[in-house]
Amino acid sequence: MKDTILKGIRVVELARFVAAPMCARILAALGAEVIKIETSKALDMQRLDADNTRDGYRWPDSAALKKSASLNLKHPEAIELMKKLLQISDVFIENMLPDGPSKLGLDYAEIRRNNPKLIIVRMPGLGLAGPYRDFVAYGLAVQALGGLDDTTGFPGSPIGPNFSYPDYISGAHAALSVIAALDYRRRTGRGQIIEAPLYMAMSSLLRSAPLEYSANKISVKGMGNRDRYMFPHNAYKCKGEDRWCVIAVRSDDEWKGLCKALGNPSWAKKPEYDTVLGRRNKIDEIDSHIQEWTSVRTAEDVVETLQKSGIPSGIVVKGSDMMSDPHLKERDYFKITTNHPRYGSHPNYSVPPILFSETPCLFGPAPKLGEHNDYVYGKLLGLSKAEIKSNTDAGIFA
């Protein structure tokens, strides 16, 4: 078996929802031992199926390779065990509100004194400081607050991705933070505290829009699928129900290539279309001509034809396209979970989608709640079988 990058690094995750578990999920794929502390009293929604019952098929995307220890932190004994676990760990990831840890009885100054090499990652929604620090924040809402929704969709009708997009960004940013802090620790011997809020993660992915506002006082807005610099550039309807393709033309040469691929139709022979400014002026007319051509062809046909001519184009893919895509198959993108209690064998996404030549990312099963209690409390923390049983009976391991 090949080596892994984070072999020997122990990560403790005390978090629900998406962002912080995503950070830990990435570290697990890189070989870290991730212990997820969870309780049936407030289950991670990522465990749940679409019908809101347990053990959904998305769970491995969030928790593959993790170890699960059940612990109800409402008990003082549980907090003591948590502190002991943090003494023998390298990284601690949580997504509580700013005052959450102290309310629980986790004093970070004390925890760091007992383990100065520990890297603590705090992932509050909107930050530990500032006027909105205690606000409730979920990914879907943060993409609106962060400016993504207003730059998506058509003018006057903002819209965002229909999932918690900022959580994924935030989890990935935080994974980079952990690796950077581990590298810093390698050189200095020092652990530290990192603050990685969801809001800042989203707000950092607006490319030049913030600078354009500070320099030119322009507030970029959504413009559908049009682009400011490429003409034509849009999504076009294809043959079949809800089938679409996208086409982007980056230069006059690509425009000529597009016309040729379309069979040099007579509508395209207007000299004004040969220049980008000419095309920009007549973009509605050009788009409707292109759609006439795409709408009688399958998306597959359109894209095969245009890619052969080197024109940037793609299918608006659905699940059915993904599962039969020979390209993704050859790259082994979907990982197969076997033995899922409800679904048996099923596909999972590559998390993270990074192909290392020497240290491939790991994939494995996701844990049942408390599946690793004996390992965590017995082997790591030295509790006897009788102590584990009495803690379980007392509802501490629950």
Binding site: L30, M45, N52, A129, P131, A137, L140, A144, G146, G147, L148, D149, D150, T151, T152, P161, N162, Y168, H173, L176, S177, I179, A180, Y184, R187, Q192, I194, P197, M200, S203, L205, L206, R207, S208, Y213, N216, V220, G222, G224, N225, D227, D242, C245, V246, Q307, P312, V317, K318, G319, H327, R331, P347, N348, Y349, S350, V351, P352, I354, F356, S357
Partner: protein, 411 residues
């Protein structure tokens, strides 16, 4: 190879990284540079093509005034080098010898044709980490397909679920695919560098932007939904049908988003709706519970919500809602986002001082470290600004060599 340029240790300050990238890979270099790595941007002598991409400072089209370039290249150094000639290739190999990593986003096969692929470069520096970023990755039948952001967003499954049910699929704002591809590349590069420092072994890292978009959108369970139920995810619009209330609602002066998840959040919200509109039906027990429990009643609840939301401004909705512990947020324009007191007081923005465009406010690091932060935040470099520093002080050419190379179009 590892050296300490900065007086104080920064997070990634021990690494030197060479970057041969366009808009697909620049953000990878930026993330690493913003964490302290010495990222040297290798530009062709006419300037990297991203210097020609808009928008521009005061709409002045100038190599040093692309706001796109200024954003994506903070804290980097710039040297010019023509990789398509023999002298350029030899010089590049000298640089590689003294570097820890190379990140590149050239068309698949381009560097191999110049004899500068991972195989050739690792012969020069066996511990080298090399990361390639491309739309579809380095292998597979689509590896040479052409793509831009919208193609990545379409082929990555993002667009299928973004948009109104009866409208076209939509690309997200601000070229997300180019940033998340680079974000994964930054994780891969930093992790491989850590491994190299621990073991002395380099490696090659292959990033497909399509795969990054797929992974970031996995919450939609698009693949599984098809695998189990032969169902394809469809566009649900600004408000979802599967949970309630979850989505955008119009206010007096714009839009706000409500994402109630917990049962207690609905209890608060329904009480507030009742207060404002006098509608007592909204308090019915049948609507209580989690967002899934309310899904069967989406249509009637939407009517109640719309009546309510249009009575308030988006800020009233936001601030009063948050006081009541309901996750409501306004849809911020870029202008509002740039003036948001939370971002300002948290210290998110950086003032970047650039010799040509002057002082501008931009977004900074998304995360803050107790130790190891960069103490000086540098603006994007001028074209070839560090030629002398790198070629003379660091790899030992003399100034006359530079003049010869310059005259021959090498640098």
């Amino acid at each position: 190879m590892a050296r300490s340029r900065a007086k104080t240790e920064t997070l990634l300050g021990c690494y030197r990284i060479l970057e041969i990238t366009d808009e697909q890979g620049e953000y990878c270099g930026k993330r690493l540079a913003d964490l302290g790595a010495d990222v040297i941007k290798i530009e062709n002598p006419q300037g990297s093509k991203t210097r020609f991409k808009g928008p521009f400072f005061h709409d002045q089209v100038d190599l040093e005034k692309s706001l796109n370039f200024l954003h994506y290249n903070t804290n980097k150094r710039s040297i010019t080098l023509n990789l398509e000639c023999r002298d350029g290739q030899e010089l590049f190999k000298k640089l590689v010898k003294r570097a820890d990593a190379v990140i590149e986003s050239m068309p698949v096969g381009y560097l191999a044709a110049l004899g500068l692929d991972y195989k050739s470069l690792s012969a020069v520096n066996p511990a080298l980490v090399m990361t390639s970023i491309s739309p579809f990755g380095q292998t597979g039948p689509h590896k040479n397909w052409e793509a831009t952001d919208i193609v990545n967003m379409a082929m990555g499954g993002f667009m299928q679920s973004c948009g109104e049910p009866d409208g076209m699929p939509l690309r997200g704002g601000c070229e997300q695919s180019l940033q998340i591809g680079s974000q994964c590349a930054a994780i891969g590069t930093a992790a491989a560098l850590y491994y190299k420092s621990m073991t002395g072994k380099g490696q090659y890292v292959d990033i497909s932007i399509q795969e990054c978009v797929l992974t970031y959108g996995h919450e939609q369970a698009t693949a599984q939904s098809w695998a189990f139920h032969q169902n394809n995810v469809v566009r649900a619009g600004a408000r979802t049908k599967w949970a309630f209330p979850y989505g955008l609602f119009p206010c007096k002066d714009g839009w706000a988003i409500i994402a109630t998840v917990q049962a207690s959040e609905w209890d608060q919200l329904s009480a507030w709706i009742h207060e404002v509109t006098g509608n007592a039906e909204v308090l019915d027990d049948v609507f209580k519970g989690t967002l899934f429990d309310r899904a069967p009643y989406v249509d009637i609840l939407t009517v109640y919500l719309l009546e309510f939301s249009q009575k308030l401004t988006k800020d009233e909705f936001f601030l009063e809602g948050q006081k009541r512990k309901i996750p409501i947020m306004p849809v911020h324009s870029i202008e509002e986002a740039m003036n948001c007191p939370q971002l300002t007081e948290w210290g998110f923005f950086k003032n970047v001082s650039h010799p040509v465009v002057g002082d501008l406010k931009d977004t900074g690091n998304p995360d803050r470290y107790a130790e190891g932060n960069l103490d000086v935040w540098k603006a994007a470099p001028l074209l070839g600004q560090h030629n002398e520093e790198v070629y003379c002080s660091e790899i030992g050419l003399c100034k006359d060599d530079l003049a010869v190379l310059r005259s021959n179009g090498v640098i």
